[in-house]
């Protein structure tokens, strides 16, 4: 509860601040906090992924992007009505979607009656992996995981190429601009 309150406070701070350095630091803080919330909700795998991606890689990449741009967010010229409308509609649709979810922790939800018991009881004789999450990810859904790995690898290569190509001329430009006044 306390953690969720802090999350909300940090999110409001991210929205209100204009200095992008502070926003990057606050993003790392936010990701640490929400990783702790995941951990409290008994999902250590998700928490570990969130902390590694959100606090580690995302911070470094955001800083690399900040190297290419200015560090202060510019003000919008007119009040932005249309993005507010789109995000409000999306949020309302998501909240409406949660109304159809079964109650949290109930025993006869579809998650617990469909294939979950099979995985839980048969993962040791089928795969021999002691951790059920690992066996589902790497054996039952092996092709799925392979596809995810390909997507992430492609994305990483694309980001690296983008950053490297834009880096050289931009750095010289900023240096000459800094010497000018």
């Amino acid at each position: 509860m306390v953690l969720l309150t802090l999350l909300a406070v940090v999110a409001i701070g991210i929205v209100r601040l204009r200095n992008l350095f502070a926003v990057v630091i606050l993003g790392a803080v936010y990701s640490f906090l929400i990783a702790t919330v995941f951990l409290v909700l008994d999902a250590p795998d998700v928490a570990m992924t969130e902390a590694a991606v959100g606090a580690g890689i995302a911070t470094v990449m955001m800083l690399a992007v900040l190297h290419l741009t200015k560090t202060d967010e510019s003000r919008p010229r007119q009040p932005q009505i249309f993005p507010l409308f789109v995000s409000a509609v999306t949020g309302a649709a998501l909240i409406y979607g949660t109304l159809d979810l079964p109650p949290f922790g109930e025993a006869d939800t579809p998650v617990h009656t469909h294939v979950g018991p099979y995985y839980l009881s048969q993962s040791i004789p089928d795969t021999g992996v002691p951790n059920v999450v690992a066996s589902v990810l790497a054996s039952y859904r092996g092709w799925d995981t392979l596809g995810e790995v390909v997507v992430i690898f492609t994305a990483a290569i694309g980001v690296l190429l983008l950053l490297r190509r834009a880096q050289r001329p931009t750095r010289q430009a900023t240096r000459s601009r800094r010497d000018a006044p």
Partner: protein, 94 residues
């Protein structure tokens, strides 16, 4: 009981550090407070593992410790070798 006391203390420290992250005038204030938040989160992970009787999650705490210092050094390296002109003391003007 004793873990609950420790968890409450860590949460208080966490809240105060969040206040400093939001209020800090310079980037370094925010950085110090973010480092402290990372430390508090590591402690919270360890204490929470003991609080629920499953202290096997400490690996995650170790991972958080390494990530914490990586994040701090990434920001510092950028501050030193990146664009140095616009760093210190930029207040939000709204």
């Amino acid at each position: 009981m004793m873990f609950a006391v420790a968890a409450i203390a860590v949460l208080i420290a966490l809240a105060l550090a969040v206040v400093r992250v939001l209020a800090g005038p310079t980037v370094f204030d925010r950085l110090v407070a973010a480092n402290k938040i990372g430390n508090a989160v590591i402690l919270l992970v360890a204490i929470f593992g003991f609080l629920t009787g499953r202290p096997e999650w400490l690996d995650i705490g170790i991972l958080y410790g390494l990530l914490n210092i990586i994040a701090v050094f990434a920001v510092l390296k950028f501050l030193r070798y990146g664009d140095l002109g616009v760093t210190g003391g930029e207040e939000p003007t709204d």
